[in-house]
């Protein structure tokens, strides 16, 4: 080949990636005319994050997309669709190569493959179980979107479904000896409500507690550290309580024993007490010291909470009656904080401290209650005032009506008696 042709070829090859879109792509041309699974990759490609970076079929599967003939296109470099057990290394070929990734997205991590190999999925795959999850099971294939986009399979509110696709399938999970109710449990949890109902993206999903590429269920002792990521104050309080030592000795999971793991419901004072369904009753026999302490705690908190609800209703009532109670409602927010703090304090079982917080809360609540009563008084005053004024106006209207009637009669009489002059 002469110099000129070589130069042309080299520059064409160098600039080929830039021309990826304008370039002939026989893979897409042929596959778009096929059906079902063979057509799917083409349709999905438009949204794919790899396509955005200028990568195409050839960059993962090899082959020669400039060739129309299928045998020429599927040349020696053509890798085809990898086997399931080969997929992690297939993707990892680029994604764990820091130098390669730097050219596209330097901020992206490159330890996914090594993490995966420590995970349960990775371990099972290594042992030959092809049912274990691989990259494409969670990220999809061909239409992979960045996890920052809401339609991505790995966007926070899609993750439970992505994991649940396998983990709630009883048939699939039959031989693994783990439950399949995690997704249903999670969906009933307060975390799911925050995520799906309130659209709070900071709410934890599967990977926040289990890890994503290195996914493994946390061991009993480390469940608490997982929870402490978001609930540090509660964790600190628990460490100070006598439960810490007891739980450690018994090998009981700290947060999990009372709150569960997937089906974590909004905590309430109903969890504390001497009788079922209070969690204290799981270990403490009725009548024991622990049980009595639980009952006392329950009484304190319930009293405070019912007082709080009553005052909330009081303010709502005043507002319904048209009285401005904005200032009182703000003060009530402070009491809400105190209530939440008091409930949180139950984790250190310091009854004296809790009683003090409740007492402070009751004092603040009393102020708000007074404001609420005053507002209701104002509503009553307004209605009384309206009543009085309306009565007076009705009397005035009656007086006017009488006067008008008298005048009309007088006029009629005058006109009747022949007097045409108006008065």
């Amino acid at each position: 080949m002469n110099i000129r042709a070589t130069r042309l070829f080299v520059s064409a090859a160098l600039f080929a990636p830039l021309l990826a879109f304008g370039q002939k792509n026989s893979c897409v041309d042929c596959h778009s005319q096929l059906e079902d699974e063979l057509k799917a990759p083409v349709a999905a490609l438009a949204a794919d994050v790899h396509a955005e970076y200028g990568l195409g079929c050839k960059d993962c599967h090899g082959g020669a997309p400039d060739k129309d003939d299928v045998d020429l296109a599927k040349d020696k470099s053509f890798k085809g669709a990898p086997k399931r057990s080969d997929i992690p290394r297939f993707c990892g070929g680029c994604h764990s190569n820091a130098a390669a990734m730097r050219a596209f997205n330097p901020a992206l991590r490159t330890d996914q493959l090594s993490q995966y190999e420590t995970s349960r999925h990775g371990q099972l795959l290594k042992a030959g179980d092809t049912k274990a999850a691989v990259c494409t099971d969670c990220h999809g294939v061909h239409g992979i979107q960045s996890a920052r986009l809401p339609k991505s399979l790995t966007f926070p509110w899609n993750i439970p479904q992505t994991c649940g696709r396998c983990h709630s399938d009883k048939t699939l999970m039959a031989n693994y000896g783990i439950p399949t109710d995690q997704l249903d449990d999670y969906k009933a949890s307060v975390h799911a409500k925050a995520l799906f109902d309130k659209k709070d993206l900071s709410a934890p999903v599967c990977n926040d507690c289990h890890g994503n590429h290195g996914a493994f269920p946390p061991s009993v002792t480390s469940v608490a550290s997982v929870c402490r990521q978001c609930h540090p104050s509660t964790g600190e309080l628990f460490i100070k309580s006598p439960h810490k030592k007891a739980f450690d000795e018994l090998g009981v999971g700290e947060c999990e024993a009372c709150h569960g793991n997937h089906k974590i419901l909004a905590p309430s004072t109903a969890m504390i007490g001497a009788d079922e369904p209070a969690v204290c009753a799981q270990c403490h026999e009725k009548g024991s010291r622990g049980s009595e302490a639980a009952s006392e705690l329950r009484r304190d908190l319930d009293g405070f909470e019912s007082g709080f609800r009553a005052v909330k209703d009081l303010l709502a009532q005043a507002r319904r009656k048209g009285v401005e109670v904005g200032d009182a409602e703000y003060k009530l927010q402070d009491v809400t904080t105190t209530l939440v703090t008091a409930k949180n304090l139950t984790h250190d079982l310091d009854t004296a401290g809790i009683a003090k917080t409740v007492a402070d809360g009751e004092t603040a609540l009393a102020e708000v209650r007074a404001a609420g009563e005053k507002a209701l008084d104002e509503a009553r005053f307004r209605r009384r005032g309206l009543g009085v004024t309306t009565v007076l106006l009705v009397l005035l209207a009656a007086a006017l009506a009488l006067k008008i009637r008298r005048m009309a009669r007088a006029r009629q009489e005058r006109e009747g008696s022949g007097d045409s002059k108006t008065s």
Binding site: G326, R382, L393, V394, A397, L400, T422
Partner: protein, 358 residues
């Protein structure tokens, strides 16, 4: 003793203000009484409600602050901190709406009774301008609490004004005091509401009432009856009866449905869904929403606005256009036009609330 003092006070004032002559003149004033004379009360009710607005407005001025950092807060203070502030403010807000509604009733009743015919053309024209003025009162007053609804309603309303051909941009900048709704707008709307518009309204009301005094009440075409009742005190007492009843209505509304304070305006927030102007503008607002985007290559919205302006002009010129009424002949054509206009306004207003998703 009291009658004696009363008499000397009366004598004192009479000698200086010519009161007895005024009374003699006043006693001559009569009002026709016939099947349709019930409609005569509406003018007086509008005047009464205007007086209430002036009184409550002056009182609100005592505690209101027209600055974006304080306007909303001052309304909050009036509603919760000032004795009877809730009442004065609610009266002002409710009466504004009732007044505008009754102004429409007054206008349509005089239209259907053809009271605009010669020699009362100017009464009709001043009345039309008064309606426009009072709707401007409503528009400017609505912004003053500086809450979310008022901020965005003002934005939407002035955007529509700004879309007028040629004068639109200048008009919008003049109204807003700048390119967008800001402190300048609040100060300007306050000025409109408590100075400019009241002055203009007083002048026009003065002319309007003067004309009613000199020309007397118009009788329906073909009304043969000669029955008349004196204005003082017969008609006035009947007027007062109506005023008493409306006071009861306003009182009930204010106690059971006090006017809300709303959330403070945040210019950076996105426009709330379903934002619309006050109800008396909604017939125009919904028309603009329903009009197709383009009609014969002219922007639909612009065409609709020009349509309203042309319509308003024709409406104002009805006394000149309705020749038959001018000759004391029945003019069913104009009655039909009036009915059509009234029906349009009612239907479009109801549609705004019945089908909010339009």
């Amino acid at each position: 003793m009291a009658p004696k003092i009363g008499q000397s006070v009366w004598k004192f004032l009479d000698e200086r203000f010519m009161l007895s002559q005024l009374i003699t003149f006043g006693k001559k004033k009569t009002v026709p009484e016939h099947r349709r004379s019930f409609w005569y009360f509406f003018g007086g009710i509008c005047l009464f409600l205007t007086a209430i607005q002036i009184a409550t407005g002056i009182m609100l001025l005592l505690y209101y602050t027209p600055h974006i950092d304080a306007a909303h807060e001052s309304i909050h203070f009036i509603m919760s901190g000032v004795k009877f502030g809730w009442l004065i403010r609610s009266i002002h807000s409710w009466t504004a709406n009732i007044l505008i509604g009754l102004l429409f009733v007054h206008m349509f009743s005089t239209f259907f009774l053809k009271a605009y015919r010669k020699p009362r053309e100017l009464t009709w024209v001043t009345g039309f301008f008064l309606l426009v003025l009072f709707m401007a009162f409503g528009f400017s007053g609505y912004l003053l609490p500086w809450n979310e609804l008022s901020y965005f309603a003002t934005r939407v309303g002035t955007d529509i004004a700004g879309s007028l051909p040629f004068i639109g941009k200048g008009l919008k900048t003049f109204i807003l005091g700048g390119p967008e709704v800001s402190q300048a707008t609040l100060s300007r709307f306050f000025w409109f509401h408590i100075a400019l518009l009241p002055m203009a309204a007083l002048v026009l009301i003065g002319i309007h009432i003067f004309l009613v005094q000199t020309l007397g009440m118009s009788k329906p075409i073909g009304e043969q009856g000669k029955k008349e009742i004196p204005f003082f005190p017969d008609f006035l007492y009947k007027d007062a009866l109506g005023w008493t009843i409306i006071l009861v209505v306003i009182g009930v509304l204010c106690v059971f449905l006090p006017w809300e304070i709303g959330t403070k305006a945040d210019p950076l927030a996105s426009t709330p869904l379903g934002i619309k102007p006050e109800w008396y503008f909604t017939f125009m607002f919904t028309t603009l929403k329903l009009v197709p985007a383009h009609i014969l290559s002219i922007e639909g919205e612009k065409l609709a606005i020009l349509g309203f302006m042309a319509g308003g002009l024709l409406w104002m010129l009805v006394p000149l256009l309705d020749r038959r009424a001018g000759r004391e002949k029945r003019s069913p054509l104009f009655t039909c036009v009036g009915l059509a206009v009234a029906a349009y306004i009612v239907i479009m207003t109801v549609l705004t609330y019945a089908l909010p998703k339009l």
